[in-house]
Symmetry: C2
Protein backbone atom coordinates (compact mmCIF):
# COMPACT_ATOMS: atom_id res chain seq x y z
CA UNK A 1 0.00 0.00 0.00
CA UNK A 2 1.27 3.45 -0.94
CA UNK A 3 1.32 5.72 2.13
CA UNK A 4 0.40 9.34 1.27
CA UNK A 5 3.37 11.70 1.43
CA UNK A 6 1.57 14.03 3.84
CA UNK A 7 1.26 11.17 6.34
CA UNK A 8 4.99 10.44 6.11
CA UNK A 9 5.69 14.17 6.50
CA UNK A 10 3.71 14.25 9.78
CA UNK A 11 5.48 11.27 11.35
CA UNK A 12 8.64 13.22 12.31
CA UNK A 13 6.41 15.68 14.20
CA UNK A 14 4.74 12.80 16.03
CA UNK A 15 8.17 11.42 16.91
CA UNK A 16 9.30 14.83 18.18
CA UNK A 17 6.21 15.26 20.36
CA UNK A 18 6.52 11.71 21.72
CA UNK A 19 10.19 12.32 22.55
CA UNK A 20 9.21 15.42 24.52
CA UNK A 21 6.57 13.39 26.41
CA UNK A 22 9.05 10.57 27.10
CA UNK A 23 11.55 13.10 28.47
CA UNK A 24 8.87 14.34 30.86
CA UNK A 25 8.40 10.76 32.03
CA UNK A 26 4.96 10.30 30.46
CA UNK A 27 4.21 6.65 29.71
CA UNK A 28 0.82 6.85 28.04
CA UNK A 29 -0.72 9.48 25.77
CA UNK A 30 -4.19 9.78 24.25
CA UNK A 31 -4.67 10.76 20.60
CA UNK A 32 -6.57 13.73 22.09
CA UNK A 33 -3.54 14.98 24.02
CA UNK A 34 -1.07 14.23 21.20
CA UNK A 35 -3.38 16.11 18.84
CA UNK A 36 -3.48 19.14 21.14
CA UNK A 37 0.31 19.16 21.32
CA UNK A 38 0.56 19.12 17.53
CA UNK A 39 -2.47 21.11 16.42
CA UNK A 40 -3.84 18.03 14.61
CA UNK A 41 -7.24 16.40 15.25
CA UNK A 42 -7.22 13.10 17.20
CA UNK A 43 -9.10 11.49 14.28
CA UNK A 44 -6.30 12.48 11.91
CA UNK A 45 -3.69 10.97 14.21
CA UNK A 46 -5.60 7.70 14.51
CA UNK A 47 -6.06 7.60 10.73
CA UNK A 48 -2.37 8.35 10.04
CA UNK A 49 -1.21 5.62 12.41
CA UNK A 50 -3.72 3.09 11.06
CA UNK A 51 -1.64 2.91 7.86
CA UNK A 52 1.07 1.15 9.83
CA UNK A 53 -0.98 -1.33 11.87
CA UNK A 54 -2.56 -1.26 15.29
CA UNK A 55 -1.18 1.02 17.97
CA UNK A 56 -2.75 1.57 21.37
CA UNK A 57 -5.98 0.14 22.70
CA UNK A 58 -9.41 1.72 22.45
CA UNK A 59 -9.81 4.15 25.35
CA UNK A 60 -6.38 3.46 26.81
CA UNK A 61 -4.18 5.67 24.64
CA UNK A 62 -0.78 4.93 23.19
CA UNK A 63 2.27 3.65 25.01
CA UNK A 64 4.70 6.55 24.50
CA UNK A 65 7.92 4.55 24.25
CA UNK A 66 6.31 1.85 22.13
CA UNK A 67 4.74 4.22 19.63
CA UNK A 68 7.93 6.30 19.46
CA UNK A 69 9.98 3.18 18.76
CA UNK A 70 7.58 2.08 16.02
CA UNK A 71 7.56 5.47 14.33
CA UNK A 72 11.34 5.67 14.48
CA UNK A 73 11.52 2.25 12.86
CA UNK A 74 8.98 3.21 10.16
CA UNK A 75 10.98 6.34 9.35
CA UNK A 76 14.28 4.46 9.34
CA UNK A 77 15.58 6.31 12.39
CA UNK A 78 16.66 3.12 14.12
CA UNK A 79 19.92 3.33 12.17
CA UNK A 80 22.61 5.91 11.41
CA UNK A 81 22.61 8.00 8.22
CA UNK A 82 25.77 9.35 6.58
CA UNK A 83 25.75 12.78 4.97
CA UNK A 84 28.13 14.80 2.79
CA UNK A 85 28.13 18.59 3.09
CA UNK A 86 29.01 20.67 0.05
CA UNK A 87 29.76 24.32 0.80
CA UNK A 88 31.74 25.21 3.92
CA UNK A 89 31.15 28.95 4.01
CA UNK A 90 29.43 30.72 6.88
CA UNK A 91 26.21 28.71 6.47
CA UNK A 92 28.06 25.42 5.94
CA UNK A 93 30.06 25.93 9.14
CA UNK A 94 26.85 26.59 11.07
CA UNK A 95 25.47 23.33 9.65
CA UNK A 96 28.66 21.46 10.62
CA UNK A 97 28.36 22.69 14.18
CA UNK A 98 24.59 22.10 14.46
CA UNK A 99 24.03 19.85 17.43
CA UNK A 100 20.59 18.60 16.41
CA UNK A 101 21.72 16.09 13.77
CA UNK A 102 23.73 13.49 15.69
CA UNK A 103 21.14 12.65 18.39
CA UNK A 104 18.71 11.72 15.58
CA UNK A 105 21.26 9.55 13.78
CA UNK A 106 22.45 12.00 11.10
CA UNK A 107 26.20 12.41 10.69
CA UNK A 108 28.16 14.64 8.32
CA UNK A 109 31.14 12.47 7.33
CA UNK A 110 32.50 14.49 4.38
CA UNK A 111 32.74 18.21 3.65
CA UNK A 112 33.61 19.76 0.28
CA UNK A 113 34.28 23.27 -1.00
CA UNK A 114 36.12 24.96 -3.88
CA UNK A 115 37.60 27.92 -1.98
CA UNK A 116 41.40 27.47 -1.64
CA UNK A 117 41.16 29.29 1.72
CA UNK A 118 38.83 26.56 3.01
CA UNK A 119 39.97 23.34 1.28
CA UNK A 120 42.37 21.45 3.55
CA UNK A 121 41.19 23.24 6.70
CA UNK A 122 39.56 21.36 9.54
CA UNK A 123 36.12 22.20 10.92
CA UNK A 124 34.51 20.14 13.67
CA UNK A 125 37.13 17.41 13.13
CA UNK A 126 36.42 17.15 9.37
CA UNK A 127 39.07 18.12 6.81
CA UNK A 128 37.44 19.95 3.88
CA UNK A 129 38.18 18.39 0.49
CA UNK A 130 37.98 19.99 -2.94
CA UNK A 131 34.69 19.42 -4.75
CA UNK A 132 36.60 17.80 -7.62
CA UNK A 133 37.30 14.87 -5.25
CA UNK A 134 33.57 14.39 -4.56
CA UNK A 135 32.86 11.45 -6.86
CA UNK A 136 36.00 9.56 -5.89
CA UNK A 137 35.46 10.12 -2.17
CA UNK A 138 31.83 8.99 -2.28
CA UNK A 139 32.75 5.94 -4.39
CA UNK A 140 35.08 4.83 -1.58
CA UNK A 141 32.99 6.00 1.38
CA UNK A 142 29.37 6.42 0.27
CA UNK A 143 26.80 8.61 1.94
CA UNK A 144 23.01 8.47 2.00
CA UNK A 145 22.26 12.18 1.94
CA UNK A 146 23.84 15.29 0.40
CA UNK A 147 23.59 18.64 2.20
CA UNK A 148 24.01 21.57 -0.19
CA UNK A 149 25.07 24.96 1.21
CA UNK A 150 26.66 26.61 -1.83
CA UNK A 151 25.54 29.84 -3.56
CA UNK A 152 22.43 29.34 -5.73
CA UNK A 153 24.33 29.72 -9.01
CA UNK A 154 26.62 26.79 -8.08
CA UNK A 155 23.92 24.54 -6.61
CA UNK A 156 22.66 22.75 -9.75
CA UNK A 157 26.14 21.57 -10.69
CA UNK A 158 26.85 20.37 -7.15
CA UNK A 159 23.55 18.50 -7.02
CA UNK A 160 24.27 16.90 -10.42
CA UNK A 161 27.62 15.66 -9.05
CA UNK A 162 26.01 14.27 -5.90
CA UNK A 163 23.38 12.45 -7.98
CA UNK A 164 26.05 11.03 -10.30
CA UNK A 165 27.87 9.82 -7.18
CA UNK A 166 24.76 7.84 -6.20
CA UNK A 167 23.17 10.16 -3.63
CA UNK A 168 19.37 9.78 -3.60
CA UNK A 169 18.38 12.42 -1.03
CA UNK A 170 19.36 16.09 -0.96
CA UNK A 171 18.82 18.66 1.78
CA UNK A 172 19.09 21.92 -0.15
CA UNK A 173 19.96 25.15 1.68
CA UNK A 174 20.58 27.03 -1.60
CA UNK A 175 17.70 29.35 -2.54
CA UNK A 176 16.86 27.69 -5.88
CA UNK A 177 14.84 24.76 -7.22
CA UNK A 178 17.17 22.09 -8.65
CA UNK A 179 16.34 19.64 -11.42
CA UNK A 180 16.89 16.01 -10.38
CA UNK A 181 16.08 12.68 -12.04
CA UNK A 182 13.14 10.57 -10.81
CA UNK A 183 13.92 8.69 -7.63
CA UNK A 184 16.02 11.50 -6.13
CA UNK A 185 14.38 13.38 -3.29
CA UNK A 186 15.09 17.03 -2.54
CA UNK A 187 13.97 18.99 0.51
CA UNK A 188 14.43 22.73 0.46
CA UNK A 189 15.31 24.55 3.65
CA UNK A 190 14.90 28.26 3.03
CA UNK A 191 13.86 30.70 5.76
CA UNK A 192 13.05 33.44 3.23
CA UNK A 193 10.55 31.27 1.36
CA UNK A 194 8.84 30.47 4.68
CA UNK A 195 8.74 34.16 5.64
CA UNK A 196 7.27 35.02 2.26
CA UNK A 197 4.42 32.55 2.75
CA UNK A 198 3.46 34.51 5.90
CA UNK A 199 3.71 38.08 4.63
CA UNK A 200 0.81 37.49 2.24
CA UNK A 201 -1.42 36.93 5.26
CA UNK A 202 0.18 39.66 7.36
CA UNK A 203 -0.51 42.07 4.55
CA UNK A 204 -4.09 40.79 4.52
CA UNK A 205 -4.45 41.37 8.27
CA UNK A 206 -3.11 44.86 7.85
CA UNK A 207 -5.75 45.45 5.20
CA UNK A 208 -8.38 44.18 7.62
CA UNK A 209 -7.11 46.40 10.41
CA UNK A 210 -7.09 49.43 8.16
CA UNK A 211 -10.55 48.59 6.83
CA UNK A 212 -11.72 48.75 10.41
CA UNK A 213 -10.91 52.43 10.34
CA UNK A 214 -7.25 53.31 10.61
CA UNK A 215 -5.72 54.34 7.35
CA UNK A 216 -7.39 53.49 4.07
CA UNK A 217 -4.33 54.72 2.15
CA UNK A 218 -2.47 51.53 3.01
CA UNK A 219 -5.06 49.27 1.45
CA UNK A 220 -4.07 47.45 -1.71
Amino acid sequence: MEIPGVVIARLPLYAQALEALAQKGEEVVSSQRLGEALGITPAQIRKDLSYFGRFGKQGRGYNVAGLLGSIRQILGLDRQWRMALVGVGRLGRAILSYEGFAPQGFHIVHAFDVDPEVVGRKFESLVVRHVRELEETLAQEPVDIGVVAVPPEAAQEVIDRLVRAGVRAILNYAPMTPRVPPGVQVRRIDPVVLLETMTYYLKGQEGVRFLQGRDPLFLR
Copy 2:
Protein backbone atom coordinates in the same frame (compact mmCIF):
# COMPACT_ATOMS: atom_id res chain seq x y z
CA MET B 1 -12.10 34.85 -2.93
CA GLU B 2 -10.04 32.66 -0.63
CA ILE B 3 -6.75 31.66 -2.28
CA PRO B 4 -5.66 28.10 -1.36
CA GLY B 5 -2.66 28.03 0.98
CA VAL B 6 -0.72 25.75 -1.39
CA VAL B 7 -0.96 28.41 -4.09
CA ILE B 8 0.38 31.09 -1.73
CA ALA B 9 3.15 28.70 -0.70
CA ARG B 10 4.26 28.29 -4.33
CA LEU B 11 4.42 32.02 -5.09
CA PRO B 12 7.79 32.56 -3.32
CA LEU B 13 9.26 29.81 -5.52
CA TYR B 14 7.89 31.53 -8.63
CA ALA B 15 9.41 34.80 -7.43
CA GLN B 16 12.78 33.12 -6.83
CA ALA B 17 12.82 31.52 -10.29
CA LEU B 18 11.77 34.80 -11.94
CA GLU B 19 14.54 36.66 -10.08
CA ALA B 20 17.09 34.16 -11.40
CA LEU B 21 15.73 34.67 -14.96
CA ALA B 22 15.81 38.46 -14.57
CA GLN B 23 19.43 38.30 -13.38
CA LYS B 24 20.30 36.36 -16.55
CA GLY B 25 18.72 39.17 -18.57
CA GLU B 26 15.69 37.14 -19.69
CA GLU B 27 12.71 39.36 -20.48
CA VAL B 28 10.01 36.83 -21.36
CA VAL B 29 9.34 33.33 -20.03
CA SER B 30 6.78 30.71 -21.04
CA SER B 31 4.78 28.77 -18.44
CA GLN B 32 6.47 25.72 -20.02
CA ARG B 33 9.97 26.98 -19.21
CA LEU B 34 9.02 28.32 -15.76
CA GLY B 35 7.43 24.94 -15.04
CA GLU B 36 10.59 23.08 -16.05
CA ALA B 37 12.67 25.30 -13.77
CA LEU B 38 10.37 24.56 -10.84
CA GLY B 39 9.28 20.98 -11.47
CA ILE B 40 5.64 22.14 -11.76
CA THR B 41 3.37 21.61 -14.77
CA PRO B 42 2.69 24.66 -16.98
CA ALA B 43 -1.05 24.10 -16.43
CA GLN B 44 -0.54 24.39 -12.67
CA ILE B 45 1.38 27.62 -13.06
CA ARG B 46 -1.31 29.13 -15.29
CA LYS B 47 -4.00 28.03 -12.83
CA ASP B 48 -2.11 29.41 -9.79
CA LEU B 49 -1.60 32.77 -11.46
CA SER B 50 -5.21 32.96 -12.68
CA TYR B 51 -6.27 33.52 -9.04
CA PHE B 52 -4.67 36.94 -9.21
CA GLY B 53 -5.88 38.17 -12.60
CA ARG B 54 -4.46 38.07 -16.11
CA PHE B 55 -0.74 37.73 -16.63
CA GLY B 56 0.92 37.23 -20.01
CA LYS B 57 -0.70 36.79 -23.38
CA GLN B 58 -1.72 33.52 -25.00
CA GLY B 59 1.32 32.11 -26.78
CA ARG B 60 3.61 34.99 -25.84
CA GLY B 61 4.66 34.01 -22.33
CA TYR B 62 5.03 36.20 -19.28
CA ASN B 63 7.01 39.41 -19.00
CA VAL B 64 9.60 38.43 -16.38
CA ALA B 65 9.94 41.80 -14.64
CA GLY B 66 6.20 42.45 -14.74
CA LEU B 67 5.21 39.07 -13.32
CA LEU B 68 7.94 39.26 -10.67
CA GLY B 69 6.72 42.71 -9.62
CA SER B 70 3.13 41.51 -9.40
CA ILE B 71 4.02 38.44 -7.34
CA ARG B 72 6.16 40.52 -5.00
CA GLN B 73 3.24 42.88 -4.54
CA ILE B 74 0.79 40.01 -3.95
CA LEU B 75 3.12 38.54 -1.32
CA GLY B 76 3.72 41.91 0.32
CA LEU B 77 7.38 41.96 -0.65
CA ASP B 78 7.19 45.49 -2.01
CA ARG B 79 7.74 46.73 1.54
CA GLN B 80 10.14 46.12 4.42
CA TRP B 81 9.33 43.70 7.28
CA ARG B 82 10.70 44.09 10.80
CA MET B 83 11.67 41.02 12.81
CA ALA B 84 12.69 40.31 16.41
CA LEU B 85 15.07 37.43 17.10
CA VAL B 86 14.80 35.57 20.40
CA GLY B 87 17.79 33.35 21.21
CA VAL B 88 21.29 34.56 20.38
CA GLY B 89 23.22 31.32 20.83
CA ARG B 90 25.17 29.67 18.06
CA LEU B 91 22.10 29.25 15.84
CA GLY B 92 20.80 32.76 16.60
CA ARG B 93 24.13 34.29 15.64
CA ALA B 94 24.12 32.40 12.34
CA ILE B 95 20.60 33.79 11.73
CA LEU B 96 21.77 37.33 12.58
CA SER B 97 24.58 37.07 10.07
CA TYR B 98 22.47 35.41 7.35
CA GLU B 99 22.76 37.58 4.25
CA GLY B 100 19.63 36.30 2.53
CA PHE B 101 17.07 38.25 4.59
CA ALA B 102 17.81 41.92 3.81
CA PRO B 103 17.72 41.72 -0.01
CA GLN B 104 14.16 40.35 0.29
CA GLY B 105 13.06 43.08 2.71
CA PHE B 106 13.41 41.21 6.03
CA HIS B 107 15.30 42.96 8.80
CA ILE B 108 16.10 41.78 12.30
CA VAL B 109 15.76 44.95 14.40
CA HIS B 110 15.77 43.46 17.93
CA ALA B 111 17.59 40.53 19.52
CA PHE B 112 16.80 39.01 22.92
CA ASP B 113 18.36 36.36 25.13
CA VAL B 114 18.46 35.41 28.82
CA ASP B 115 22.14 34.42 29.07
CA PRO B 116 24.06 37.04 31.12
CA GLU B 117 27.11 36.31 28.93
CA VAL B 118 25.15 37.40 25.85
CA VAL B 119 22.78 40.14 27.07
CA GLY B 120 24.35 43.57 26.46
CA ARG B 121 26.77 42.26 23.83
CA LYS B 122 26.63 43.48 20.26
CA PHE B 123 26.22 41.15 17.26
CA GLU B 124 25.94 42.48 13.71
CA SER B 125 25.36 46.00 15.11
CA LEU B 126 22.47 44.86 17.38
CA VAL B 127 22.77 45.03 21.16
CA VAL B 128 21.14 41.95 22.73
CA ARG B 129 18.46 42.78 25.31
CA HIS B 130 17.14 40.59 28.10
CA VAL B 131 13.96 38.68 27.21
CA ARG B 132 12.20 40.36 30.14
CA GLU B 133 12.36 43.61 28.13
CA LEU B 134 10.61 42.00 25.15
CA GLU B 135 7.07 43.31 25.67
CA GLU B 136 8.20 46.84 26.50
CA THR B 137 10.62 46.99 23.55
CA LEU B 138 8.04 45.73 21.07
CA ALA B 139 5.41 48.13 22.47
CA GLN B 140 7.74 51.03 21.61
CA GLU B 141 9.20 49.62 18.39
CA PRO B 142 6.89 46.93 17.02
CA VAL B 143 7.89 44.14 14.68
CA ASP B 144 5.89 42.07 12.21
CA ILE B 145 7.62 38.73 12.67
CA GLY B 146 9.25 36.87 15.56
CA VAL B 147 12.19 34.55 14.90
CA VAL B 148 12.61 31.92 17.62
CA ALA B 149 15.99 30.24 18.08
CA VAL B 150 15.84 29.13 21.72
CA PRO B 151 16.04 25.56 23.07
CA PRO B 152 12.77 23.62 22.57
CA GLU B 153 11.90 23.66 26.28
CA ALA B 154 11.97 27.48 26.33
CA ALA B 155 10.23 28.02 23.00
CA GLN B 156 6.55 27.92 24.08
CA GLU B 157 7.08 30.62 26.69
CA VAL B 158 8.98 32.83 24.25
CA ILE B 159 6.27 32.40 21.60
CA ASP B 160 3.57 33.24 24.18
CA ARG B 161 5.43 36.47 24.99
CA LEU B 162 5.79 37.39 21.31
CA VAL B 163 2.08 36.78 20.75
CA ARG B 164 1.18 38.88 23.81
CA ALA B 165 3.38 41.62 22.37
CA GLY B 166 1.25 41.59 19.21
CA VAL B 167 3.40 39.47 16.87
CA ARG B 168 1.24 37.57 14.36
CA ALA B 169 3.89 35.59 12.47
CA ILE B 170 6.56 33.32 13.92
CA LEU B 171 9.50 31.67 12.18
CA ASN B 172 10.31 28.83 14.56
CA TYR B 173 13.78 27.24 14.55
CA ALA B 174 13.10 25.35 17.82
CA PRO B 175 12.38 21.64 17.26
CA MET B 176 8.88 21.65 18.76
CA THR B 177 5.28 22.43 17.75
CA PRO B 178 4.04 25.50 19.64
CA ARG B 179 0.44 26.28 20.56
CA VAL B 180 -0.72 29.66 19.27
CA PRO B 181 -4.11 31.39 19.18
CA PRO B 182 -6.06 31.62 15.90
CA GLY B 183 -4.74 34.31 13.57
CA VAL B 184 -1.10 33.69 14.51
CA GLN B 185 0.95 31.96 11.83
CA VAL B 186 3.90 29.72 12.61
CA ARG B 187 6.39 28.30 10.12
CA ARG B 188 8.76 25.64 11.36
CA ILE B 189 12.29 25.48 10.00
CA ASP B 190 13.83 22.22 11.10
CA PRO B 191 16.44 20.38 9.04
CA VAL B 192 16.01 17.17 11.05
CA VAL B 193 12.28 16.96 10.31
CA LEU B 194 13.03 17.38 6.59
CA LEU B 195 15.72 14.70 6.72
CA GLU B 196 13.32 12.36 8.49
CA THR B 197 10.75 12.73 5.72
CA MET B 198 13.38 11.43 3.28
CA THR B 199 14.78 8.49 5.23
CA TYR B 200 11.44 6.68 5.01
CA TYR B 201 11.88 6.53 1.24
CA LEU B 202 15.63 5.86 1.37
CA LYS B 203 14.90 2.91 3.60
CA GLY B 204 12.31 1.79 1.06
CA GLN B 205 14.83 2.01 -1.78
CA GLU B 206 17.29 0.02 0.26
CA GLY B 207 14.61 -2.62 0.71
CA VAL B 208 14.07 -2.65 -3.04
CA ARG B 209 17.77 -2.98 -3.74
CA PHE B 210 18.11 -5.83 -1.30
CA LEU B 211 15.01 -7.55 -2.68
CA GLN B 212 16.78 -7.56 -6.03
CA GLY B 213 19.27 -9.94 -4.55
CA ARG B 214 21.85 -8.40 -2.30
CA ASP B 215 21.22 -9.11 1.34
CA PRO B 216 17.80 -10.28 2.51
CA LEU B 217 18.88 -9.85 6.14
CA PHE B 218 18.46 -6.10 5.88
CA LEU B 219 14.83 -6.32 4.84
CA ARG B 220 12.25 -5.15 7.34
